[in-house]
Symmetry: C2
Subunit: 217 residues, 2 copies
DNA sequence: AAAGTTTGGTGTGACAACTACACTTAAAAA
DNA sequence: TTTTTAAGTGTAGTTGTCACACCAAACTTT
């Protein structure tokens, strides 16, 4: 039993995945998802957390289990059933050292290499799941820094769904949900005028959920 | 590695699950889900199909995998990771003989016994998944006979979501999707006037899906 | 044969949500 | 001072959703 992690990040207005270059057999030298075998007394979730932290150095990563891949010859060495997890991280927080240690690299989702075994299929499934989850759960914020602009948020959703979104409608929808806090602070990098920063108010969100609110984008 | 099946049926305007009374150890005599161990060269899906057919006698059962249960001591005998599958069957088609062979019984979802291990949690997860799937995919028909009345369809969704639905709005919504065929035939059991029978037009549905249609109830 | 009972079948108006769409503002750069 | 760039904002038209009530058909009862 193994777990494999599809690690998503968001940078340069693009979705990225973190892949490792294998320096071990089989398939040494090829690109693959970061994975690991299930250990004694460990749940699958725990194994995934272990693998994720090992590669990124981050704790408390958002992740979700996907359906298992179980074809008996999917791994040529020995029968391995792999449970994929997709994970969302703030790409700025990962540890450069660890990434180097594992010869890992961020790839744009639009253009990444062929992976070993059935890992490409796992990535496909992960994207699909991410797309549908992002519509109904506030998981997008996991991919952004603590403070973010409306533009970043919109570009993120455009990247996830691979479609353009109307600026005003998007802002209106997000504001209508009333789960963000608009800060005094402005971000001055991407424009001369500067744009206000927001944070996700998890507390307020939880309260609203209890009152029957439903996230929807 | 094992699979466990949450088998749903619909009868008497109620959702039911099919449970077996174990005549083997451990937990002999208690109620549980029907399950089985993964065999050589078999995928998890194939294992689930095998288990489902063994108990119901039906082939081509709709089923979907749920996240694995992997606590290391969930099974007291030996470490077993179990992948639950929920399945939807037309309750009229199951084989009475097989059910007897396995001392299986249909229970109302509103009132079924404590199950072994973590099986109750599996049922919980299955219900949740069924509820959300039923909103966006035409899987309800799997629980009904080939020909069904509007009332049956509505009562089914009322049972799945555990809420009352307005008769006219439901009919309007379903008709607006235009994926059912209204037959000449009437069903005369439940009313004096008789009510028209419908079938799900899978073909038409597939065509509409390709054109961008999205099932929604 | 008339009245009663039961379930089937149908339409509309009010309200909410969604979509398309364009100009002004702030600040830095030229 | 002008130009450039992205930020920020509102509305009208349309579509979808929801609440809601009566007549029809056929059998049962008296």
């Amino acid at each position: 039993m193994a777990v494999d992690c599809i690690i998503f990040g968001f940078d340069q207005e693009e979705l990225k995945i973190l892949l490792i270059k294998r320096d071990f057999d089989p398939e040494r030298g090829r690109w693959s998802l970061m994975g690991g075998f299930l250990q004694n007394q460990e749940t699958l979730d725990e194994a995934a957390i272990r693998v994720l932290t090992k590669l990124t150095g981050i704790r408390n990563i958002y992740m979700e289990q996907l359906p298992a891949f179980s074809k008996y010859d999917r791994d040529p060495v020995e029968r391995t059933i792999s449970v994929p997890y997709y994970a969302l991280i703030n790409i700025m927080e990962h540890s450069e050292e660890l990434i180097e240690e594992y010869s890992a690299k961020w790839f744009s989702l639009r253009n990444f290499p062929q992976l070993i075994f059935d890992h490409n299929a796992m990535v496909e499934k992960a994207i699909k799941r991410l797309r549908s989850r992002a519509s109904t759960m506030p998981i997008g914020f996991e991919l952004l820094p603590e403070k973010f602009t409306m533009r970043q948020l919109r570009k993120l959703y455009e990247a996830i769904w691979d479609e353009n979104l109307d600026k005003r409608n998007f802002t209106n929808k997000v504001n209508a949900m009333d789960i963000l806090v608009k800060l005094e602070e402005k971000e001055m990098e991407t424009s001369k005028k500067g744009s206000y920063l927001f944070t996700f108010d998890k507390n307020k969100y939880d309260i609203k959920i209890n009152e029957g609110f439903q996230f929807k984008l």
